[in-house]
């Protein structure tokens, strides 16, 4: 996926929305900026398939040698798939954070949260301010 075409949460998750089998599905991952900030990833916890998430709700965590960071769902909906190989291959997050490094797919129950997300330019601006 092209980073320029994604939406972003200020908490460094990315979102790609597409129609799959007639329903709106959000694919969610962690940005390259976040991965670079964390460095030395050691552990990741994914949500259960079928779990219903509110926008902004914590759904998992990613841990580096230095610190643990919660992951927040940028959208509301039901988890319909998780990248279950990812916790065993965390290096994928370094190599391809916007592709093979996807974290979960959520069937959207409500699209209002999408309008609050940042576009690429706004997210880049936030990252440059965070150094």
């Amino acid at each position: 996926m092209k980073p320029e075409e994604l939406l972003y949460a200020p908490t460094h998750e990315w979102v790609a929305v597409a129609k799959e089998n007639g329903v709106q599905v959000a694919t969610i991952g962690i940005t390259d900026f976040a991965v670079k900030q964390l460095t030395d990833l050691v552990y990741m916890e994914l949500p259960e398939v079928g779990r219903k998430l509110a926008a902004g709700q914590e759904f998992g965590e990613v841990e580096s040698v230095k610190a643990v960071s919660p992951l927040y769902s940028p959208v509301a909906g039901e988890v319909i798939a998780v990248n279950s190989e990812l916790p065993n291959r965390l290096e994928t997050l370094n190599d391809d954070p916007f592709g093979q490094g996807w974290v979960m797919k959520v069937k959207l129950s409500d699209e209002t949260a999408l309008s609050k997300l940042l576009d690429y330019a706004a997210y880049q601006k936030q990252c440059s301010e965070q150094g």
């Binding site: 460095t39 030395d40 050691v42 552990y43 841990e63 040698v65 230095k66 643990v68």
Partner: protein
Amino acid sequence: MTGPNTVLARTPLYQWHAAHGGRLVDFAGWEMPVQYTSIVEEHTATREAATLFDVSHMGRLRFDGPGAAAFLDLLLTRKVVGLGFGKVRYALMCNLGGGILDDVLVYHLADEHGRPFHWLVVNASNREKIIAWVERHLPDAQDVTYADHTTATAMIAVQGPRALEITREALGLDLHTLGNYTALVTTIHGETGLASRTGYTGEDGCELVVPASIAVDVWQELFDVGQPHGLKPAGLGARDTLRLEAAMPLYGHELTENINPIQAGLGFAVNLKGRTFLGHDAITIASQDKNLPRRVGLELASRRVPREHCPVLRADASQANVGEVTSGTFSPTFKKSIAMAYVSPDCAAVGTPLVVDIRGKQEPAKVVELPFYQRPR
């Protein structure tokens, strides 16, 4: 402690760190690099080749005068009177209750004019407290003076199996004949400096103290010569994972004013017999108290990292709280989650199964022998 408006101190190497990708953070009031590239990379370089650490933030105090040895002997858990020239000793400074004020290295040296002196390296976070403690106990006899050399000098640690080779090649300073925990005053880059075979990583290596004015030159020479050997600059992040694997305590974590040296497992650094020092009587009593929590090493089955203050529980149905994690990390060497913790003495035996509560989830752990890592000799 530093508030949001405190101006952070910078070491003479600050500009170098900033120019070479060092991620700078507030550490004990100093703006220090926590990492340049990756903690694991810097950790591995230390174990396999060599790394450079800027440890200029640590406090460096010089003691002069005929009463210096006796004065430090009164302040430290380790015997200082009679310490041979060139010797370095790890010791604790304790309050009257036997609680640890700081862990330090004390050196006995002769300067470039042949004058004897003692040198004390203290934690950055405790420097002001230790200076106040020293001031308070200085004898009326005025046969001891001290001077704080922290900001006038820089301190560089070169650590790893290739550290001494690099130091010799870069600075013409051959420390191979210097035994572990010995030191000397010597010429470094044309100036009087101090070299010791010490460190905080569990590896071979040395620490150099040089005038602030030549710090960047010395660092750069070590860096240039070291790079072909695999040397990297390393930050506080790797310093922490390295010292944790080597089970070296860190002040504010394993050591506080509420912990005495015996329960911290530092009995080797306490000479109780035939002498007295501040805290001596309290430590004597504490050394006989079999109920005090003990410092232990824990290894976890999970890759989740036990962090400071995670509760430690019994592994039986009671799940009773028996202690607390003081430091934890994911060990880059062993690829396992490890921690140091204080636990009830009945849970401190090697092999005891325990549970660490990591943010509400119970993770199985067991007590293992310390240190986690010992370098091949």
